[in-house]
Subunit: 213 residues, 4 copies
DNA sequence: GATGAATGAGTTTTCATTCAT
DNA sequence: AATGAATGAAAACTCATTCAT
């Protein structure tokens, strides 16, 4: 009984700790999103969460550490949605797979509107580590897109073009949509439709089929 | 005689003043580009220009003011290159005109590498005014692109698609290229080729002509 | 029965309390010795002892209080070894008695290496009380030495000299040796030999017997 | 004329700068002396000097930096007085030379009462650099004394004894006198007499010439 | 009694801006 | 006009002590 009670206490304490940690992360996310990295001060975060100054440092080492943790969380979630295109028998059409990836990326970033803003529009001069993480992430993303394009060429779905250029353009279109989405205060956006729109543009371009010079 | 001399002196003084003002602007541009808005300190700027701290404030009201002025300069130059597509008799083909605009935008931004970085990647959390200017500029840009696309549709060059979506995608591809360009330390980039690549992608998309579903 | 049981419990509890108190004192001693008063934090002490933060304050009022208690302990032990020189019939030779005292002082301080360091080298700016205790202790010590010297003069063992000056010099030599000893990481030092060396120097000085001016 | 005026201004500015630097050093010295290293806060120093917070950092990098500078100054001055004993023809007697060195060391430290206190009694746990400097200084001092003792032995002035032990004892006596001197609030101390007393003790010890066992 | 999360006053340091010369 | 020393508000971070569980 005593053992159980001690155990119970520990478990409850740990749970409470995790809870508070989460609360601080969320408060920080809100503040970062509203004021940007440099505009966000520890004071803002602790005011938002309603804790004392020292408490913050009980859970996070520094302003930069908590930002990195938030960033890593988002990047990890994004990576989860960026899976290689499958060309096995019975796999969904490549285009559908791409649409799915784009949709999930957009959805995730819209759901993390605050942080996404920073990732997309404030990603310079923050900190060497942040810079490194973002560069690595974007490099991965470009790599993924390039591979998908190359696979499309192998399958004769995609025409001859510089895969590097294509990947950059595709990334650009996605980022622009994300930016637009996170800027808008609209709560409910039809992410599905947007993903399809982006994909359609990237696949077919502007020109009429028969209007080519 | 005295009048003339005073006049002459005034003219010379004014010229000198303009000259120094320009020097400070250029130094600030370099520093902002290298370190970002928050990483750039007044000390860096006056060291770069070789003036005293107080002198800086004789020419500019504040750190924010000089940044805004630089931003306005770049935006004005960009606007100069963004001219409506002409469909008059004898005008160059629409595609060529678009290619020209894209080329000039890329060229201008590459030439102002420093500031472009900030415009593209650090444009949040700086200041309400900066935010407003950039929003306005991007809105204009989107408007211009949308009009061009609509005009293309009127001429039956461009297929049926949501002009809003198309404009965003195009803007995204351009921004991505600019970002890539300003990130690269390469001094000479073949901006022409890049502009054509972007345009080609935007016009024709990824798919083979005959691969359409 | 109940009374007895309660009594037994109380005794056991009290014993446990004393035990833990001692453990904290020892942990604190180690930490203070290693890091100095200001470098030692409550966190270091409770980590060393393996108790919770609050527990520390159940046993000691403050960081300063535990330090004072340690200091008092050492000073008390030192005082125990500083006993007047006996000139009774049958007492050991005065020199031997002095050697004994010096040896015990050195031994005690070496055994309390940690705290000795602080007493000798960090005894300023800590706290008025600490300062007062140390001043008092050193005053006593000087008094003791001065008396011993005077006694030696009465016995015609010691030449005519200012007993105040002599006492200071002797204290100085002892302190220097202690400092050397506690600084050295050597575990086993020949304290006896050192005590004799110090004493020999103090008794005979540098000069050759026949080299005097 | 203009040239001269500019020159004059610069010279005056530099002089003023040096003056203020000196004022800060002196204020810091006072504060350090009164409160010890850890008890002294930047706030105390700037209050003492009557300058703004930022001004302090215009002249010194940190609290530690200004302390190191003060320390270095004192150590340099002390080193100036610690010159090798000369045994050339016509040089003053070795004993007189030693007396001179001891006198100057005492005098210097008494004149720098504040800092000397810290050097002697707070020399642990301050900072790695401070520690290193002091260790080096004391090592030098011991080396110097040991050499002087060895030289005395070579000249048959000093009896056979462990030069290491002797050097430590001598250093101890000197430190004790310094400590006594700096602790006393007496403004005028007869440093000369003290130096002679110390020397006498170190040379002749306690015992009567004929009282040896 | 024991625990350890929470507290917040206090400290160092930075840097845009001012102002006497 | 030019200078650069001076300013001080504001920010990050520390750590002895308290207190609810």
């Amino acid at each position: 009984m005593a053992e159980e009670s001690v155990d119970g206490r520990t478990v409850r304490a740990t749970r409470k700790r995790q809870h508070r940690r989460q609360a601080i992360l969320e408060g920080a996310l809100k503040v970062f999103g509203e004021k940007g990295y440099h505009g966000a001060h520890i004071s803002d975060i602790i005011d938002e969460v309603g804790i004392a100054r020292g408490t913050f440092y009980l859970y996070f080492e520094s302003k930069n550490a908590i930002f990195l943790e938030l960033l890593d969380g988002l990047l990890a979630e994004l990576r989860r949605h960026i899976v290689g295109v499958s060309t096995e028998e019975g796999a969904p059409p490549v285009v559908a797979q791409l649409a799915g990836t784009v949709r999930e990326v957009l959805r995730t970033m819209v759901q993390n509107r605050m942080l996404s803003t920073i990732i997309i529009r404030e990603a310079v001069g923050l900190d060497a580590e942040v810079d490194a993480r973002l560069r690595a992430f974007y490099a991965e993303l470009l790599h993924y897109i390039r591979d998908a394009v190359a696979e499309g060429q192998r399958l004769s779905l995609i025409r001859e073009l510089d895969t590097e250029v294509a990947a950059m353009c595709i990334l650009g279109t996605i980022k622009q949509f994300v930016e637009q989405l996170v800027m808008m205060d609209v709560q409910e956006v039809d992410v599905d439709r947007m993903a399809l729109s982006v994909l359609d543009f990237n696949l077919r371009g502007l020109l009429r089929r028969d209007a080519e010079s």
